[in-house]
């Protein structure tokens, strides 16, 4: 995708205001809440801390790109089955971060999941159901592979 942006615009602004992909959220704009989490060439970044111009040539995955066509990704499915969201505002960041974890590690421990997700703040759930959802998604992904 090609787009033009001002030098001072962040990747988050480019996604939301230039391209119109509003699934990625702004909660703090200083890298402390994780609501704007996206993948940049497979690595987790806070898109509010990346300039739009730095994204030139990079592959960016946002929450809009997680589902496989009409099929929800197992992480998305697990979030719904476990009631792992309440207001849903932090959810896009958690979905992207959790998928990135499970792409690399098929069987993370509870402690590992908690450490991995510590960059993403959720104020509604107390994280319990989010951790369980990621555990369930991991198990389902392992079963699909097996």
């Amino acid at each position: 995708m090609e787009f033009l942006c001002e030098p001072r615009q962040s990747l988050l602004e480019c996604l939301r205001d230039v391209i119109g992909l509003t699934g990625t959220k702004e909660g703090c704009n200083d890298g402390n809440c994780g609501a704007c989490t996206v993948l940049m060439d497979g690595r987790i970044v806070n898109s509010c801390l990346v300039l739009g111009v730095e994204a030139q040539g990079a592959q960016i995955t946002t929450v809009e790109g997680i589902a496989r066509g009409n099929q929800l990704h197992p992480v998305q499915q697990a979030f719904l089955q476990n009631a792992a969201l309440q207001c849903g505002f932090c959810t896009p960041g958690f979905i992207v971060a959790a998928k990135a974890l499970l792409d690399q590690e098929p069987a993370p421990s509870e402690e590992r999941i908690r450490l991995w997700l510590a960059n993403n703040l959720c104020r509604c759930t107390g994280y319990d159901k989010i951790v369980r959802a990621v555990e369930q998604a991991a198990q389902e992904l392992r079963e699909v592979k097996a």
């Binding site: 929800l72 969201l85 759930t125």
Partner: protein, 749 residues
């Protein structure tokens, strides 16, 4: 209906808005886009207390790309009057003054002016060009300081009310009230053990992840159209109309998806400002707060100073209780000290009580509701003292609570007598929980318990249902869905209609499109809007029976319906079959429900917490945590658990980390999510839940409401656990490492 007969209530269907919320399609307030949209920014006071001598906006107006600049002078110049927007009478000047300061700024972050421009960056650049001359005044930041006779006065026209009467004395105390019952002196004289302690709690923020936002268009027909993230679209409509001197029908509010609120998104901040900017520019204007603006410019919950004195006999009977609560309202009166005072001893059946409450203005942001507003501060104090009483009496802390627990017929000091409540059942569930019985070996570890109460509220809700030919039903409601209430409301309609939860499609609509509906707050949506949906579903069934009677050429009275099947003698039809035949029997069926329920059921909650305290650093690790709550009836148990877990964790954050760290001149020094440290996934264990169901006789399904009571006990439970782990009684929040080390060192000396 008993639980056994119900097929939808008590199940865990996937929420109706689920797919949109895991794919990024759900549209929140800041996601609003429209042609010609301008972006705004707000100039805020750098001083905690200052007189505004001059504002010059001319340079900002001249900047290319700027289309409008507004200040408090742009509000209509209507005379002062009292306005009731659901929380008692408030002077119009206070409501307008908090949104755009006039004359004085009362806290650092107080909005002074706003700009609309072609981009957010241009708007921010323009703020630097607005010139404001201030006369800086001395500021006052805590209730005890603000109550002193020589304290700087925030409002020269604020006359202290005492016991309901105007005193004629100008001070920072907006009100002093008292609740009393029995004979306090006699009660203390009967006591074998008396504990008296003082407590301080810091200002904390609700911490919703989505910042406040508003988009407004002052349309060419004179109507003001608003899109925003709010807990109450009708409250925004009524407040904005009142501030702009418009009839309510001239304002339409569309509630977008909302990223958390917890009480903090009941007041308006940006909506009227966006409207003023739109009127001046002729274009739609969007305003979105930064995180710093959220901390400095919106309403946190009050900091407080509380004294509690309680006495008990050796047999474990509490004979007297006295409370003194001074809450910091922030810049304008309304500190929620009333509910704090009503809740402080609400869990106990007491004969002799005196409670004094003080609503005190200070130079901090004007406070707003935060989940069981006022109750958590109060319970931290009272439940710490109850714990100390139990220790002195040599009683198990839950046993002492059980011996004094409030029950049906207990009168609270503020007047009301309880109907059926679940306080005893909650304490029993705590005592029987495996967590309470489990051993907790190891040094520096301790277990604490506490209980708490929240009233919940009723208030009006409206709902309509229209039946589709395929047997599904569209549900239209006005309650913003913050935690899955579309589903808990739809499930109650589905239960009545005898169809699956998935067959009811709920939609939250704007203020033109549904009857008046009060805020998503007070744990009321599943209770009251759920009840409106119940009534609407009953209305649908009445009409459907008539349709079946028409088809069967019989009387509607001869038609019975049960679990979605209509019957008259031998004949029967399912809801779905009958829905397909509405066209031939008279046309569409639309059911309506509008309620203003009285049968509100209060909710009791308890917390069991295990902690480990590092004696070298003072860091507290939560090892295990269990939340117990009487919810009346759990409509969707997974989201009920979610409320209990979320409230518990907010309580844990309040207890251990969170605070407005203020400089002496009134600046918040930690206004970012890095420094205002809310719990992360790594800070917590799993949060266990035990749902207690003592059905509320005042609701068709027994619902009480579950959103709030769960935040009340955690700080006290953690304080009591810390005492058992480290041997220190904590008398202030937050109980962060410096506070704990200070307490440990003090004890060693």
């Amino acid at each position: 209906m008993s639980t056994a007969e119900m097929t939808v209530v008590g199940t865990r269907p996937i929420r109706h808005d689920g797919a949109d919320k895991v794919t990024g399609r759900a549209l929140y307030g800041a996601d609003v886009q429209m042609a010609g949209l301008l972006h705004g920014a707000v100039l805020r006071s750098p001083h905690a207390h200052a007189r505004i001598l001059r504002i010059d906006t001319s340079k900002a107006e001249a900047l290319e790309g700027v289309l409008a600049v507004v200040t408090g002078a742009d509000f209509p110049d209507s005379p002062e009057r009292l306005v009731d927007l659901g929380e008692g009478d408030t002077p119009l000047s206070y409501i307008r003054g908090n949104v755009l300061a006039r004359g004085k700024t009362l806290y650092k972050g107080h909005a002074v002016a706003a700009v609309a421009a072609t981009s957010a960056h241009v708007a921010e650049d323009a703020l630097d060009l607005i010139e404001v001359d201030y006369e800086v005044l001395p500021c006052v930041l805590t209730a005890p300081e603000a109550m002193r006779e020589d304290a700087p006065i925030l409002h020269e026209d604020l006359v202290t009310k005492e016991f309901g009467e105007k005193t004629g004395r100008v001070s920072n105390v907006a009100e002093h009230f008292r609740y009393s019952m029995g004979d306090l002196e006699k009660g203390f004289a009967e006591a074998d053990v008396i504990v008296e302690r003082e407590f301080h709690t810091a200002t904390v923020h609700q911490g919703y992840i989505e910042p406040q936002n508003a988009t407004a268009l002052w349309n060419n027909d004179g109507r003001v159209l608003i899109w925003c993230s709010t807990q109450g679209a009708f409250t925004v409509r009524d407040t904005v109309a009142c501030m702009l001197d418009l009839p309510v029908s001239q304002v339409r509010v569309t509630p977008m998806e909302i990223g958390g609120g917890f009480g903090g998104k009941i007041p308006v901040y940006l909506e009227p400002v966006a409207a003023l900017l739109s009127r001046k520019s002729g274009r739609p204007v969007k305003l979105v707060m930064s995180r710093r603006e959220v901390f400095e410019g919106t309403g946190p919950t009050p900091g407080s100073y509380i004294k509690v004195k309680m006495g008990a006999r050796r047999d474990g009977r509490i004979t007297a209780a006295q409370g003194y609560l001074a809450y910091e309202a922030g810049a304008y009166p309304g500190a929620m000290v009333g509910p704090g005072a009503m809740c402080i001893f609400a869990a106990y059946d007491l004969a002799n009580v005196v409670i004094d409450g003080f609503d005190v203005v200070v130079n901090k942001p004007s406070t707003a509701a935060y989940r069981a507003p006022g109750a958590t501060n109060a319970a931290f104090a009272a439940e710490s003292v109850v714990d100390e009483l139990a220790e002195k009496l040599g009683l198990d802390p839950l046993e002492l609570r059980l011996r004094n627990a409030a029950k049906e017929g207990t009168r609270r000091a503020d007047g009301p007598k309880y109907r059926r409540i679940g306080c005893v059942e909650v304490i029993q569930a705590m005592r029987n929980h495996p967590h309470y019985k489990a051993p907790l070996p190891g040094p520096n570890r301790g277990r604490g318990v506490a209980i708490g109460f929240w009233f919940n509220v009723g208030l009006p809700s409206s709902c309509s249902l229209s039946v589709n030919a395929d047997g599904t039903v569209n549900l239209v409601e006005g309650s913003t869905d913050i935690g899955g209430t579309r589903t808990s409301v739809a499930m109650q309609a589905a239960e009545v209609l005898g169809i699956p939860a998935e067959s009811v499609r709920p939609t939250v609509v704007d203020t033109d499109s549904v009857g008046y509906t009060a805020v998503t707050g007070g744990s009321r949506v599943t209770f009251a809007t759920g009840w409106a949906a119940y009534e609407a579903a009953q209305d649908v069934l009445r009409q459907m029976k008539e349709r079946a009677a028409k088809l069967w050429e019989t009387d509607a009275a001869a038609v019975e319906v049960s679990r979605g099947v209509f019957r008259a003698g031998e004949r029967s039809m399912t809801f779905q079959e009958l829905a397909a035949r509405l066209g031939e029997t008279g046309g569409p069926v639309v059911g309506r429900g509008a309620v203003n329920p009285r049968g509100v059921g209060g909710s009791f909650s308890g917390a069991i917490a295990d902690v480990e305290v590092d004696p070298e650093t003072g860091k507290v690790t939560v090892l295990r945590f269990t939340s117990v709550q009487d919810v009346g009836r759990a409509i969707h148990p997974a989201y009920v658990e979610g409320q209990m877990q979320g409230g518990s964790v907010q309580g844990i954050g309040w207890a251990l980390n969170e605070e407005y760290y203020m400089s002496a001149d009134g600046a918040m020094l930690n206004s970012s999510l890095l420094d205002y440290r809310m719990p992360t996934s790594l800070d917590l264990p799993m949060i266990d839940t035990a749902i207690v169901e003592v059905p509320n006789p005042g609701h068709p399904f027994g619902v009480r409401g579950v959103g709030e009571a769960n935040i009340v006990p955690p700080p006290a439970a953690l304080a009591n656990a810390i005492y058992r782990a480290a041997g220190v009684r904590m008398d202030r929040l937050p109980m962060n490492p410096p506070a704990i080390m200070e307490a440990i060192w003090k004890q060693r000396d």
